[in-house]
């Protein structure tokens, strides 16, 4: 577990910075809730008349009297994008940087198999993504308690669990892609996150395209869908992980046999 420890040690700083930054956004959103609650009648009225804009963010199914609706929408927007980007960036560089930054020659001249390196790096990725999500959820929970805000704890847990699953799915996908690459370029990872995000917006606008729900993990992080379902959308989550997992396995297989770029 030496490589796992090494990865955690070298990645923990960035993870904490991302976690703190996202938590600050979360706190700002929470601080604004009393204002939103005061105007919830008006917001609900406006949302009903927003048309396409309301559909885009799936607002028509939401009730802004409800704290979790507000929290899921606001937090889901920046935590979904921010957390997804963190997962993508970390997943994209974790493997490919060994070749991209020319440390592969040092690492792979030690008697440590490529499979062992990949497994330990993958575990480090999962731990860091989980740490970011748990950190942000706990800070949010502390903030909500500080505000003395009543809320649905189950919905809170489902929502954050779904966010974690989405982040992990993105991380798995980007880690798999990273195995094919010789340079640590984060742009494809960020592109994937944005594509997923906008695909979900597209599905929101055109409900006939819900068949595409399995292509984007943002579908199952939508608070209105989670509350309507009475829990995380495990079917969507499962299928998402099957497709990302398949790419991960293909990446593993390729990496074990590839010629190292040194």
């Amino acid at each position: 577990m030496i490589i796992l420890r090494h990865e955690l040690r070298s990645g923990i700083g960035a993870t904490l910075i991302w976690s703190i930054a996202l938590s600050i956004f979360g706190m700002v959103a929470l601080a604004m809730y009393p204002l939103v609650a005061d105007y919830s009648n008006m917001i609900n009225y406006l949302v009903e008349r927003m048309g396409l804009m309301g559909q885009l963010f799936n607002l028509q199914d939401m009730n802004f009297y409800d704290f979790m609706t507000y929290y899921g929408l606001e937090y889901g927007n920046f935590m979904g994008l921010g957390g997804g980007m963190y997962a993508a960036v970390t997943g994209m560089v974790m493997v490919a940087r060994e070749e991209g930054r020319h440390t592969a020659e040092f690492l792979y001249s030690q008697p440590v198999g490529r499979a062992s390196v990949l497994i330990q790096k993958f575990l480090a990725l999962v731990l860091m993504v989980t740490l970011l999500n748990v950190f942000c959820a706990l800070i949010s929970l502390a903030g909500i308690n500080f505000m003395n805000q009543t809320f649905d704890l189950d919905a809170f847990i489902w929502f954050h669990l779904s966010q974690l699953m989405m982040n992990l799915q993105v991380a798995v996908l980007c880690f798999g892609i990273s195995c094919f690459k010789k340079r640590d370029n984060v742009v494809p990872g960020l592109g994937i996150v944005l594509a997923f995000y906008f695909l979900n917006l597209f599905i929101n606008v055109n409900r006939q395209t819900e068949v595409l729900e399995y292509l984007t993990p943002y579908f199952y992080t939508d608070i209105s869908r989670i509350t309507k379902n009475g829990g995380p959308l495990w079917r969507s989550i499962g299928l998402g992980f099957v497709s990302s997992g398949a790419l991960l396995l293909a990446g593993f297989g390729y990496y074990l046999r590839k010629d190292m770029a040194i």
């Binding site: 090494h6 020659e105 792979y108 001249s109 030690q110 008697p111 190292m260």
Partner: protein, 292 residues
């Protein structure tokens, strides 16, 4: 310790190495010589499992390079020609990291090697010069006392004093039973320190053998002192050099033929010397270029 059999590596249409067969015996200090792009680093990367062969086979420490890669690496110390370390690491961190991956405790040996090479292991590697980074690589490669050392241009970047310290360490390791395989551009150090050598050109083995035997199979340098009159045509002579009244040239062929040619001129003295490594290298390179 190392045996390659028709080992081949192609990069698409580009050539890597072609049907390379070499043998490194236990206790050898084996020099691997070739110009840039000849295939030296490709061979080393194949031996260490960084890349996979397109054909042929190879064994290191008696183990197949594909099936037993980790076992091979456990018994090998490798110094690359250029190396990068993880950001923020000190020399000591790199040595410890390598030792932990090998599951060995060799801090005392790492400190001893650093002391021999005047290396401060507590400094951040990013602040070190190229030569000092090379010393860190040498510490990482030698600290666990491997049976086989694979060194890719190990003395590049080291000043002459450090080169001497490095070769002292290498000879000490050899006395302790290690085998050394090294690539180098510095032909004089191959001649001075290596017991056997191979010359590789455009991915193909040109010649392999003991360094002294290579010198004998190559041309001899003939020097005629105080030559009186013009030099007659010497069959097979090349690399003609004139210094004052002396003329020297390389020649390979029958001694009787040379003596016949020399009989046509007058000179005071004659010396026949083994060519230096550079001349051997050029001799074999030119020979293969001419398709001989």
């Amino acid at each position: 310790m190392i045996q390659t059999t028709r080992l081949t590596k192609r990069y698409g249409r580009a050539r890597g190495i072609d049907n390379l067969s070499i043998q490194v015996n236990p206790g050898d200090i084996y020099g691997f010589i070739g110009s840039n792009g000849a295939g030296k680093s490709t061979t080393i990367r194949l031996l260490l499992g960084f890349i996979r062969p397109s054909g042929g086979s190879a064994k290191v420490l008696g183990l197949d390079i594909i099936k037993r890669k980790n076992d091979i690496l456990a018994g090998v110390g490798y110094v690359p020609s250029e190396i990068s370390y993880y950001p923020g690491m000190r020399g000591l961190d790199a040595a410890r990291f390598a030792a932990r991956l090998r599951r060995v405790e060799c801090g005392a040996e790492a400190r001893r090697l650093a002391e021999l090479m005047s290396l401060d292991l507590n400094r951040k590697i990013s602040e070190l010069s190229f030569g000092n980074k090379k010393k860190v690589a040498i510490v990482c490669a030698l600290q666990h006392k491997p049976d086989l050392l694979i060194l890719d241009e190990p003395t590049s970047g080291l000043d002459p004093l450090m080169q001497k310290a490095f070769w002292d360490i290498i000879r000490e390791r050899r006395r302790q039973g290690a085998t050394i395989f090294l690539s180098s551009h510095v032909l004089s150090e191959i001649q001075q320190y290596c017991t056997r050598a191979a010359i590789i050109r455009e991915g193909k083995l040109v010649v392999e053998g003991g360094v002294h035997a290579l010198a004998q199979t190559a041309a001899k340098r003939i020097t005629l002192h105080n030559l009186k009159g013009p030099l007659p045509e010497i069959r097979g002579a090349r690399d003609l050099r004139q210094v004052g009244e002396s003329v020297s040239f390389l020649v390979q062929g029958e001694a009787r033929q040379l003596l016949e040619d020399l009989r046509q001129t007058d000179f005071d003295d004659l010396t026949i010397t083994e060519p230096d490594m550079e001349e051997i290298f050029l001799h074999f390179y030119e020979k293969t270029e001419a398709g001989i």
